[in-house]
Symmetry: C2
Subunit: 204 residues, 2 copies
DNA sequence: GGGTAAACGTACTGTAGGTACGTACATACC
DNA sequence: GGTATGTACGTACCTACAGTACGTTTACCC
């Protein structure tokens, strides 16, 4: 049994919560960074200076915690990607910037990335979908817009979004664990694939 | 406490094992198909007519069970893909066949696919890599060969393999859960993406 | 100042992974 | 043909963790 030192039961003085939801998520991130993706809820609560029921009150069960942290990471990645390609003309070099920004942001949130992409808990695979959809939604909107603008069928946007996110997820996992490539080099390789690498003709 | 009816402690008469490793994996698949990806080891053992320690003796812990089942599924997919594109000339239509065979085999092993791609257990994300590598290895060999044959750098093969597998994994998960597309239509959409869809020029 | 509701911690339950150990059978050796 | 040893089981336990019921302390309102 873990006991939080220096606190006792009862409503805290001052009419304020001991910790709010955002502070709890911050603490969760710290605990994950320190102990890896397998941290228990109790350890996270301890890191925040509270006990488990507080987490259930503010956030919910382990699945909802995963979702909240996933939304955070997705936000960071989307922000990073947007500022990376802002003002760039659509083309291969913008694609490289997009991919590199993804990789670098994931690398900067390494443990959190591991936690979100599968190391979290005893969850059904439907959760993976929910997590991915945090990234898919904004991407699909952009793709759909672009397809319409260029006179093509936007119906492919959703499938393409899941395809791109899935591609980046597994590739990033591999890269962070057992690859010596730089983010830039890997982004170039992926861009080559997406830029039609599979239909490259033989070099005469 | 679950008790297997009709058996008692002690070495079985007849000098034979009660069940061998393959039968255990068969039972695991049946249990997963029946109860979903969250089945407990004890339920799997019960399905096989034995108790937990037998699973640990034949297969190992939950991680090793995941790996074994993942290898089975990867084998089925690789087989299916090979026979789908056997004799086909390299090109876009072969790519569609490759993708469709992947999707259909996953659909035919729906629950097992869920179990393998994340619904399994309290595992570190490194396991996802190990699982994916079962599919990556043969694919990378083929890609590497093809790149060399066509006079290009084969160094991209590994990254491309993880990219393609990741793309198929997440797309399949989405498709099996919440998409009404046929396997063929989805394969066409993915092929369009891989065939350079991102650099499609505006239709004049 | 008393009553009510809020915000905690304490302590419990249930479940599942993993393991120590006892038991029954086979085989080898004398 | 009896005894020792090793093997293949099931039984019963330990531990860790997710999730929850409940008691306690404080703020707030009249």
């Amino acid at each position: 049994m873990v006991t939080v030192a220096g606190r006792r039961p009862g409503r805290p003085a001052g009419g304020k919560l001991v910790v709010d939801r955002e502070s709890l998520l911050d603490a969760a991130e710290r605990a994950i960074r320190r102990d890896g993706p397998m941290v228990s809820l109790e350890t996270i609560a301890l890191e925040a200076g509270v006990t488990k029921p507080v987490i259930y009150a503010r956030i919910g069960d382990r699945t909802e915690l995963s979702n909240a942290l996933s939304a955070r990471l997705a936000d960071r990645i989307v922000q990073s990607v947007f500022s990376a390609i802002a003002g760039q003309p659509i083309g291969r070099s913008a694609l490289v910037l997009f991919l590199a920004a993804n990789l670098e942001t994931a690398a900067g949130n390494r443990e959190l990335f591991f936690y979100v992409t599968g190391g979290s808990a005893d969850d059904s695979p439907q959760r993976s979908l929910l997590l991915a959809s945090n990234s898919v939604t904004p991407l699909a909107a952009q793709l759909s817009q672009w397809r319409t603008d260029t006179g093509h069928d936007p119906a492919v946007a959703e499938a393409w979004s899941y395809a791109l996110i899935g591609m980046l997820q597994l590739t990033t996992l591999w890269w962070l664990n057992q690859s010596a490539l730089t983010a830039r080099d890997l982004a170039e390789q992926l861009a080559e694939l997406l830029w039609g690498g599979l239909r490259t003709p033989p070099i005469a």
